[in-house]
Symmetry: C2
Subunit: 294 residues, 2 copies
């Protein structure tokens, strides 16, 4: 019999992950802060729990994928002034596994790992990459911190939603690499935006720059995926700017803790902040290009 999977967070990533878990035949229990987002999954066979704790109580494997550290602390530790905690941690059974796929600090990941260990619960920090497209296709890449034997045990569950499961070190290592990757992506997109602003301000059309870059060492995934939208000035959210802004902040906080200076990281964070504050919509992070359009 397949293990029961709990899923907390049904946003751009969690929603499609839930659908793929159902398709693969896993009994699924879900919870989401905005209840309406659970409706479709419930129609497709998922059970809705009353609170995060209710999900955890029924789960052999619990996956959390929420938008930021504050949301994760709330669903795991519960409202602090409540009598009986509504948090998922207090619902997890001994011998169950928590797979934490939100992007948070390595320090928070290790704090959750310690709380799990106290309860006899296995823990993996396992943030993902691949975007909404990867989530829909079930082709996410997982960056994992934790023990190999725990990963082996939950692999059948992860294989319903992902295609690569990279074990990077002990708990926290998954989050560390994810922050490094998103720092790099944020900087690559900002770098293209700066080059674009420079060249077009000097009177050369963006298309000419693109043509040259595709023939050079400057070619990149960002150039293939993000640059065409940036040239058009269209920014439908694949990975929202507000989340990338949060991830760059987490990267800068980790760097500060380790005594590392990130001059470009800091400069880009200011640029992303400026665009986030000025944007009235909820654009993709490639909307950083708007910085040069005002």
């Amino acid at each position: 019999m397949k293990p029961t999977v709990g899923l907390i967070g049904l946003g751009l990533m969690g929603g499609p992950m839930g659908r793929n878990l159902l398709r693969a035949g896993f009994p699924l229990v879900v919870w989401n802060r905005t209840k309406a987002k659970a409706d479709e999954l419930v129609r497709e066979g998922a059970k809705l729990a009353a609170d995060p704790r209710g999900v955890a109580e029924q789960a052999d494997v619990l996956i959390t994928i929420v938008s930021d550290p504050a949301a994760l602390e709330e669903v795991l530790f519960g409202a602090k002034d409540a009598g009986k905690s509504s948090g998922a941690l207090d619902g997890l059974r001994r011998g169950s596994t928590l797979i934490e796929s939100s992007t948070v600090s390595p320090e928070l990941a290790r704090r959750v790992a310690a709380a799990c260990a106290e309860r006899g619960v296995d823990f993996l920090d396992a943030p993902v990459t691949g975007g909404t497209w990867g989530a829909q296709k079930g082709e996410l890449v997982f960056m994992i911190g934790g023990k190999a034997e725990v990963l082996e045990r939950v692999k059948p569950v992860l294989e319903a939603v992902g295609k690569k499961f990279l074990l990077l070190g002990p708990n926290g290592a998954g989050q560390t690499v994810k922050l490094g990757m998103n720092l790099l992506l944020a900087l690559q997109v900002d770098a293209f935006a700066e080059a674009l602003a420079l060249v077009t301000s000097a009177g050369v059309p963006a298309e000419k720059l693109m043509e040259v870059l595709q023939s050079s060492m400057a070619r990149s995934g960002v150039l293939d995926v993000k640059a065409p939208m940036m040239v058009k000035g269209e920014f439908p959210a694949s990975f929202p700017l507000r989340l990338m802004h949060k991830d760059v902040r987490l990267a800068l906080e980790l760097a500060r803790d380790k005594g590392v200076t990130l001059p470009c990281g800091a400069a880009a964070y200011a640029t992303y902040s400026s665009v986030l504050n000025a944007s009235k919509d909820d654009p993709d992070f490639s909307a950083v290009a708007r910085f040069w359009k005002r």
Copy 2:
């Protein structure tokens, strides 16, 4: 009969270009500031001129590829206090063509274009990409500003040294796009160095970061070509840091002229400057990673 080609500048790029021009059967006249660098080409059949003007006087097509704007001004305009100018411009015959392949400002390119026009000389700004490897294989990509009919006329010469000839706009457009491209490359390399410093400072080996990046949208030419050397801490010069430093400066100067701010460009320039000042060797620009090793 093939046109006589003049070549001024026999460095990492110009040297192999000269060799390919000889192999393609073009009569070749050369000059270089450091005379010894001409020896091998002369043995292979090139004629050595006494000064830049001497090259220009014999050339149907003159190619200049020197290290920076100051060197270019010197070879084109000649020593200012001399009686008879030794500069190439005064040697160029009416109806000849100057192909300027150094990386300089668009403004200097247009100034040279104007000086050529006064003398009835055609002009293309045509900086290159492809590195020393591309120069050796004759597979350079040319970014060209100028007239299509001039490009058509000199294409047989360019085809001896390059494989792509992208006409990007009027004079200056080639340099504009080149500065945009090198700004982007400098930022991509710096961005990888920052992500590498972050992840390794937090205890995760560089190889783990690389493995994840190759599976993500963060994949890039820089990741393929430069990152493996940066992880090893080895920086043999393919494109020297001192030249990239100069190109980022030119990009920032162009941005200032156009009223464009480049926050990451400025931050990266400071980082490259710091490493350039501290380096006792002549490393590749990927040595910016040394910033985090001290």
